[in-house]
Structure formats: structure tokens, C-alpha cells
Amino acid sequence: MNNGKIVAGIDAGHLNTKAVLIKDGRILSYAKAPTACDVLAATQNVLNEALKNAGVSPDRLSGMYITGVFRNMVETRTLNVGGTVPEYIADAKGALFLDNKARTVIDIGGNVHMAISFDESGNVLDVIENDKCAEGLGIFYRNMAKVLGVTEEELSELALRATKRVSVAIQCRLSAESEAIDLMCQGVEIEDIADAIARFIADRVAAMCTYVALRKKVVVAGGLAKSQAVIKHLQNMIKEEVSVGDLPEYVGAIGAAVSYGGAK
């Protein structure tokens, strides 16, 4: 048990690596950095930054626990990792920690999206992950912001101002990307293209959600949870109110820490 001690949770994701420090069920600090091709360096960086943000020296850490797609790569290297947590468990625990009424978490990340339902103790009841053609929604969103010459935040704001409904190919993100560019060539307004991009993402996530019983309350985690446009369309499509907390990107990292006693 880690009572009264500081626990670090790390989420080594496709696009970003995130760290949180938790003590006595309270989040002390958090940090994130691009994972790029060196997950070890990214982990070290976010951990150092989180420690600095909290004003805590490394020797006060009682343990570091990892989740995310690269978790095993971090564990097998030189960092002192206390344990690893599968993403779906980390997401369930993290979502419940942040909102004790949550019973389903939809995580829309850089390369993978999934929906997890769980009970009041955070025990996982059902998990569904995206199909192959729908992979990489976060990467798609980032690329499209770049192509449109805006930031990811601006992309969402633009989408919310759309006036005309246009669509991009639904079968995979590569087709969607090429058709979004085709819309640009046709002179379609940037707001309407941004909306088509947000709708494509929501549509793919909503399709995945039909495979799982969404228990209330539904919360959304992951980087794309910050896109209000995506959330707006997702709510319409799954016909369910969804909630986005203050730290949607850190749900997995929090869950990793919580799984090893960080909430105590």
C-alpha cells in the first residue's frame, strides 16, 4: 500500500506521453510531451516536469505505474517502473476517480479509440476497441488541422461555426483525408470542411459504440475529448449525453496511479 505517499501514473500513448502525480487521492500535478520515437525520453521528461510542477523531489515517489500502448517498452528499459496497467483498466479507474457517477468511458486517442463500461468499483464489464479502418482518429485530426493551416483548437471552433453540411468518405481515415482535401479544391468553406472532419470522427466512434451497452453516466477521455465539435456530434449520434471532465487526456495516467493505490 502507498498510503500518504506520492504515486506517479504515466500514460505512454501514440501521440503524447502524460504523467500525473497523486497523493492521498488528490492530483498534485500533471504534464505531457510528444511521445515521438523515444518513449523513454518522453516518460522521463513528463515525469520530471510533473515533479517540478508539484515541487516534489524524485526520492519522494513511492512508485511509478505505466499504462498506454507503449507501457511495456517503458517497463523493460531503465526507468524504475512499479507495474503496468492495461489501458482499458486504467481508463475505467481514471474515469471513476474523476467522476464517481461515471460507468462508461469512451477514450478517443491518437491511434486507438475504445469504450469501456464498468461498475461502481471500477471493475471492467465490457470493452470494445475500434476496427482497423477506423484507426488513428487523433492522428487524422492533427493532420487535418495542419492541412487546413489551423491549430487543433481552432479546427473545433471552426467546425462549430459551419453552415453547410458536407461529408468526407467514411470508410477509412485515409479516404477521409483525401476527400477533405478534395473539398478544399472545390472551394468549400473551411468551417464546413472542419465540421465534416469532426463528424467523421464522431461517426466512427459512434459506430464502435453500437457494440457495447453504454451504461450511464458516459464520459469521454483522450485528446479528442477536447474538441467540442466532436463531442457535439457524438452526443447526437449515440443519443446519449456525454460528459468531459477537466483533464480528459490524463484519464489513463490517473487510472494507472489509482490502480496501484494512488487514490488512497
Binding site: D131, A169, S178, E179, D203
Partner: protein
């Protein structure tokens, strides 16, 4: 300027095809029994003889991912979109849904309606032979059509007489002849209508009560032939391939940098729907229907001559090329459809031998307009050099 009557009739056809729900509901309100059909491999005449109006299920062109949970991702967008129509309950006013065992993709779209869209108790799958160019195929179809007739008699609670079927055959043949006459205007170098207009009317005919449709068609043909100016067709393009009910494609093809006209469309949403007739006055009505449907321009999914691998459709396309004299050919087919693009592989050498340039357009729910336009402009450019 006073609007020409032919323009008004075409506008009415367009309004029907763009508002199928409204049209279907208006028929329903008049007490008509309506059956949706998902594939043209069904003898509509038997439905009509039973007092039922067949309405083809066409697509909404609405991008959606909902159906990915119901049918396979790599099924064509036409089947996904048709399945979507059921799940969205867009056709809840229909009394019955029917299809023929044609392609797997549309079969699964049909199953979605039956399993998940409330049509479990009001659906019928007509068995259709896999290879139609064999002697036993006609016998198989006669038996299958007979079973369908029996089903409809039970469904409506009234018998279907030979006279009923003969009358339906006559009405449907009239419709086919009228549609054929409309398209034959496009054989001319100076046609009085565009391919887009002919395609619009043809699509509308597939969702309409045939007697109403015939009345409008007769008027249209009369007016088109007399009141319209004849303009040069420019680059003449023949389209061949799979189902395409997206009028934006035809609009795009006829609005390129240089003047171009669609002069023929070989697809199940165009010529394959009507370019045949059912023999009239036969004593065995079901046999007449089977013979008529076997004689259609075949769907690539059914078009295999046993033992030779020959495609009957290729011979017919060659004939259409001779009759309609296109400068270029556009292959249109649904992404993920197998039989259509495989026919394209076989047809390309034929076109190369004839010296006719061609281009492929792979269809999806959404259309990459800028990309397609570049391909089509390039085709026209090539044609202009070949045919100055």
C-alpha cells in the same frame, strides 16, 4: 420566358426521385399497397399484378458509419446506404420488402431490414439462379416466380390471375419501350435532351407507379421531339458499370471544360433496368417473365456462360458502342464491388482494339468532385486529340 412543357415534366420527374418518401407516402395515403425492392432481379410484374406498387430502394448519399456494425466494412457503399435507409426508418410506410438473390452485398442490406428494421414479418427473398445462361435457369426461375406469386396471394388475400399478370406485363413493356425511345434521342449528334435528363427520368421510373410514369413519359417524348432546340452533343460519353443513383455524377460529366454529353448508361439503375421486354400473349405467364428477365443486359454478377467464360454483356456493350457512337467510355462502379471491376478488366482490351479512350470512376457515398473532374477533363482532352 415561358417554361417549356418538357422542362416542367423533367422537373416533376426530378422532384419525385429527390423526394421518394413524399411520393411513396402520397401513394400510400391513396390506399395503394407498396413494396420496396432492393435489386432489379425481381419480376415487378407479379407485384403489380397483385395490386402492389414496387418502389426501388435507392440511396441517400449521406455519409454515415452506423451500418458498419451491421454489414461488412468492405461491402459497397450502395449496400451500406440501402441498409442505412432501413435503420433510419426512412421507408417505414412500405408494406413489404423484396429482393432477389443477386449479389451478397445487397443481400446483406436486405437482411439488415429484415432483422433490425422491422420487416421480419413482411419480407420476401426471391431465389434467382447464379448463372442465367443455362437451360435449367429458366425452369428454376419459373418455379421461383411461382412461389413468389403464391406468397403474394397469401400476403394480399386475393388471387393473381393470368389476366392480371398479362396486363402488368403490358404496362411494364410500355414503360420499357418509352424509356428506350427517350434514350434513343441520344443516338443523334444533336439530341434534344441531355444524358442527365434521361438518367433522371429513368431513375424516377424505378420508384413510380408505372401507369402514372407511362403517362408522363408519353407527354415528355412528344414534347421533347417537337419543342426543343437540338444542340450538338460535343464529346459523346458512354457510361458502363454498376448502380449509380447519384445525379451529381452525371451533372459533373456534362459540365466539364468542354461540351460533353452522356449518350448511354449501361447500369442496373439505367439501361439494364429497362432495355428488354417480356414476351406478351404467352399461355405460361411465369415462363414469359423468366424468358424476359434472362434476356436482359446481364448484371456482371450473373453473366457467366458455362464452359467458355464468355460474357454476354460484352457483346451487348459492343453493340451499344456501334449504335450510339461514343467518343469515350467511363467505367463507373461501386468501390468494393467485385464483379463490376472484373468486367472492366475484360472490357478494356475491347475498347483498346476499338480505339476508344476510357477512364475509371470508383463510386462511394461521397464524391471527390475535384479529382473526378480532373480525370474527366483529361479524358476529354485525349478524346479531342483522337477525334479532332
Amino acid at each position: 420566358m415561358v417554361k417549356k412543357e418538357s422542362d416542367a415534366i423533367i422537373e416533376k420527374f426530378r422532384s419525385i426521385i429527390e423526394n421518394v418518401t413524399e411520393y411513396g407516402k402520397s401513394l400510400h395515403e391513396k390506399g395503394r399497397v407498396l413494396a420496396g425492392y432492393m435489386c432489379t432481379h425481381i419480376p415487378e410484374e407479379i407485384l403489380y399484378a397483385a395490386g402492389i406498387v414496387p418502389i426501388r430502394i435507392l440511396t441517400s448519399h449521406e455519409s454515415q458509419a452506423m451500418t458498419r456494425s451491421y454489414i461488412h466494412e468492405t461491402y459497397c457503399s450502395f449496400s451500406h446506404d440501402c441498409a442505412y435507409q432501413g435503420l433510419r426508418r426512412n421507408y417505414d410506410y412500405l408494406d413489404l420488402i423484396v429482393t432477389g438473390s443477386s449479389c451478397i452485398h445487397m443481400g446483406e442490406a436486405f437482411n439488415v431490414w429484415v432483422r433490425f428494421a422491422g420487416f421480419h414479418e413482411k419480407s420476401y427473398l426471391i431465389q434467382y439462379p447464379h448463372i442465367i445462361h443455362t437451360k435449367p435457369a429458366t425452369g428454376f426461375m419459373v418455379e421461383s416466380f411461382g412461389q413468389f406469386k403464391e406468397f403474394l396471394q397469401k400476403f394480399t388475400g386475393r388471387p393473381i390471375s393470368d389476366e392480371d399478370i398479362e396486363e402488368a406485363i403490358s404496362i411494364y413493356n410500355t414503360n420499357r419501350r418509352l424509356l428506350k425511345r427517350l434514350w434513343e434521342f441520344l443516338r443523334s449528334d444533336k439530341p434534344p435532351l441531355t444524358g442527365l435528363e434521361a438518367a433522371t427520368v429513368t431513375l424516377a421510373s424505378q420508384v413510380m407507379d408505372k401507369q402514372e410514369c407511362n403517362g408522363m413519359l408519353e407527354q415528355l417524348i412528344k414534347k421533347v421531339g417537337t419543342e426543343r432546340a437540338r444542340e450538338r452533343s460535343g464529346v459523346r460519353l458512354l457510361l458502363t458499370g454498376g448502380s449509380c443513383d447519384d445525379l451529381r455524377i452525371f451533372e459533373l460529366i456534362e459540365n466539364l471544360a468542354d461540351r460533353s454529353t452522356i449518350i448511354f448508361i449501361d447500369s442496373c439503375t439505367a439501361a439494364r433496368y429497362f432495355w428488354f421486354e417480356v414476351p406478351e400473349g404467352r399461355s405460361n405467364k411465369l415462363e414469359a417473365l423468366a424468358e424476359g428477365y434472362v434476356g436482359r443486359i446481364p448484371c456482371p454478377a450473373k453473366d457467366n456462360v458455362p464452359g467458355t467464360g464468355e460474357k454476354k454483356r460484352f457483346r451487348l456493350i459492343k453493340q451499344f458502342i456501334e449504335d450510339f457512337r461514343p467518343h469515350g467510355v467511363i467505367f463507373i462502379y461501386q468501390r468494393f464491388c467485385s464483379p463490376q471491376p472484373m468486367d472492366v478488366v475484360g472490357l478494356k482490351p475491347l475498347l483498346l482494339r476499338l480505339g476508344i479512350p476510357f477512364v475509371d470512376l470508383e463510386l462511394d457515398t461521397t464524391i471527390p468532385i475535384a479529382q473526378f473532374r480532373a480525370q474527366l477533363d483529361a479524358l476529354v482532352e485525349i478524346i479531342k486529340k483522337v477525334v479532332p
